[in-house]
């Protein structure tokens, strides 16, 4: 996903990058780790620095020469450093905005390294999320990066410990597929995996539903044995647990079981299905509370969120009472109660609402008319539900019923920002971007767009 910056932000980012890159290694004096005992004796340098403020950095060689002449504490020349692994901030995409940050113990030494996913800031209103991305991991020896070409929706998943390797593995979602990276012989490598069983989350050509599951046991692929029904229910599945063997992923022998169409990754013994005495209160039609490991971080720590219905159910809807949203960061848990109404859905993608800072938690409420959305934001240490306007456009998506209050409305996420298309203008629709305004979300009209058959928006 891309993170569209405003024009001013793009100008600023480009100017800073251009200015910074005026300084190269050749412009710096011979470098050596300084002796701490020599700090503080700099009266000559202070005045020298002041005098040099009239000089412009646009003449780097001249500045370097003056610096060498006026810096008696400059250490003697040393041999240039040996070629190092890529330094942070270099290479294609190094200046792209960071979309996601995560932590991974890639080398298995018990210490986490930082992994970052940066996305190309080219503005492109594309609900499918086509973009380029750069994946980088900061290893002790330097930063390794990989730049990906155009593809939909790159996203960094939580790392997982797959048996067969020393450390954790890095999971990168590429569209509906999953790519796995591991440290092999001291190098970060994408592990080769066979085409079958697949590592993806989608319905295959045979109509079978496929998903992958990453948990404390490792990484597994689960696939329904037969095409899945359109509605919910239980299906027979096959499950393969993956293991690392050198630079490849190898599936283990498959096991069979049963799983809900709505939660294919939770495989249980088929004998268990149908044995329980069910009632709408005892067994809700959606999981009671499932931890969703979001792509949101606060102070480098991931946010885990969960929805907890606190009422009885009627059919698929929360009929009475409320739903509680819990968000946990480290040892701290925040709680916010949501009113009843609609099937609640927790999204693992955070929502950006301002200048590319922290993300908010997105919760959807699905009902007969469509789905409405709520965003929860960390503001001054509190988890706050952002107010949304009660006039159109709503932060919602219509189910298609022309007579419903949500008719003609479509909301999607692109580059972690929320957009709503609404109304018919000429052959297109007005598109609004949702932005933070205090503790509220406000729609800002960004233009009239016509959408093609691939749902790519172009100015009309």
């Amino acid at each position: 996903m891309t993170e569209p910056m405003t024009t001013l932000e793009q100008r600023l980012s480009a100017a800073l990058d251009a200015r910074a890159h005026q300084v190269t290694e050749a412009d710096l004096g011979p470098g050596e780790v300084p002796d701490p005992e020599r700090r503080g004796h700099r009266p000559l340098l202070i005045l020298a620095a002041a005098a040099c403020t009239t000089l412009v950095i646009g003449v780097p060689y001249a500045v370097a020469q003056i610096h060498n002449a006026q810096s008696p504490q400059r250490p003697p020349a040393t041999a240039p450093p040996t070629p190092t692994p890529t330094a942070p901030g270099t290479g294609e995409g190094a200046d792209w905005p960071i979309a996601t940050v995560g932590r991974i113990d890639l080398d298995g030494d018990g210490t986490d390294e930082t992994m970052r996913l940066r996305t190309d800031p080219t503005v492109s209103l594309n609900p499918m999320g086509y973009t380029r991305a750069r994946l980088e991991v900061s290893l002790p020896e330097g930063t390794v990066y990989t730049v990906f070409g155009n593809a939909p929706a790159y996203h960094l998943e939580d790392p997982v410990d797959i048996p067969g390797s020393k450390g954790q593995e890095l999971l990168l979602g590429v569209g509906t597929s999953l790519e796995v990276f591991s440290l092999v012989d001291g190098e970060l490598k994408q592990l080769e995996a066979p085409a079958d069983p697949p590592l993806m989350r989608r319905t295959d050509k045979e109509g079978r539903s496929v998903t992958w599951v990453a948990d404390q046991d490792g990484l597994a692929t689960v696939r329904s044995i037969a095409p899945v029904p359109a509605t919910d229910g239980d299906v027979a599945v096959q499950r393969w647990a993956w293991r690392v063997s050198g630079s490849t992923l190898v599936p283990g022998d498959s096991s069979t079981g049963c799983a809900s169409v709505l939660d294919l990754g939770t495989v249980v013994s088929c004998n268990a299905v149908g044995d329980q005495s069910l009632s709408p209160v005892d067994l809700p039609s959606f999981p009671m509370s499932v931890d969703v490991h979001t792509f949101i971080t606060v102070d480098h720590q991931p946010v885990t969120a969960r929805l907890i219905p606190r009422a009885g159910l009627a059919g698929d809807f929360v009929a009475a009472g409320d739903v509680r949203l819990e968000a946990t960061v480290g040892d701290h848990t925040w709680q916010v109660d949501l009113p009843a109404g609609g099937v609640p859905r927790l999204y693992d993608r955070g929502v950006l609402t301002t200048y590319g800072y922290d993300r908010g938690i997105l919760v959807g409420r699905e009902g007969i008319d469509g789905e409405t959305f709520q965003v929860f934001y960390f503001i001054d240490g509190q988890l706050v539900m952002l107010d949304v306007p009660h006039t159109k456009p709503y932060l919602a998506t219509s189910s298609g019923d022309a007579g419903s209050p949500l008719a003609g409305m479509r909301t999607w996420m692109h580059g972690s920002r929320l957009y709503t298309a609404y109304g018919e203008v000429r052959n297109g629709q007005n598109v609004y971007m949702w932005e933070l305004d205090g503790t509220a979300l406000k729609p800002t009209l960004i233009g009239t767009y016509c959408f093609d058959q691939d749902q790519v928006g172009h100015p009309c």
Partner: protein
């Protein structure tokens, strides 16, 4: 897909940190103080202070974070010293851009950098850390020792001020 691979080796040493991060830290300092020589001094100072703490910082990311904070603080001190030292410069000595600057920095970039220099130091720090270093709000807050709320509001005001300066520059050129 192109992949840059790196060989994994023993734990990082200060010398390795210096070799890997010196240039980027000098660039960071330079964006804050707009002077390569001062920027080099700030970074040398930061590493000098870091040497004594290196044994207690095993995590290279924490080390980089520490160095970054030192560079930001050092840059702020350098600007303060510069303002003090400027009192001793004869008032008839004007600030004059070097004509060759036009050749190395595009006009539109120079306008933005000139406007950035006119922002308050804290505002400049927040924008540089956000739009060049690519830090998150939490990382910026940690680097500057302020709350995330302050980072948000400072960034907002800084962007407003920057836009206002660039607009008035454009109007003055008409």
């Amino acid at each position: 897909m192109s992949t840059t691979l790196v060989a994994f080796g023993p734990a990082v040493r200060v010398e390795d940190l210096y070799a890997q991060h010196r240039l980027s830290l000098v660039r960071l300092a330079m964006l804050l103080v707009d002077d390569v020589q001062s920027a080099e001094d700030v970074v040398q100072d930061a590493f000098a202070g870091f040497v004594s703490k290196a044994n207690r910082l095993r995590d290279s990311e924490a080390a980089l974070g520490y160095l970054r904070v030192s560079v930001v603080n050092g840059s702020r001190s350098a600007l303060r010293r510069r303002r003090t030292a400027r009192a001793y410069i004869p008032p008839h000595e004007p600030d004059r851009p070097d004509p060759s600057d036009h050749a190395v920095l595009a006009d539109e970039h120079r306008e933005v950098i000139a406007a950035l220099k006119r922002l308050a130091p804290r505002q400049r720090e927040v924008l540089v850390l956000r739009y060049w270093s690519g830090l998150s709000e939490a990382e910026i807050a940690a680097a500057l020792g302020i709350s995330k709320g302050s980072v948000k509001s400072t960034a907002s005001r800084a962007m407003d001020a920057l836009e206002s300066l660039l607009t008035s520059t454009k109007e003055a050129q008409r």
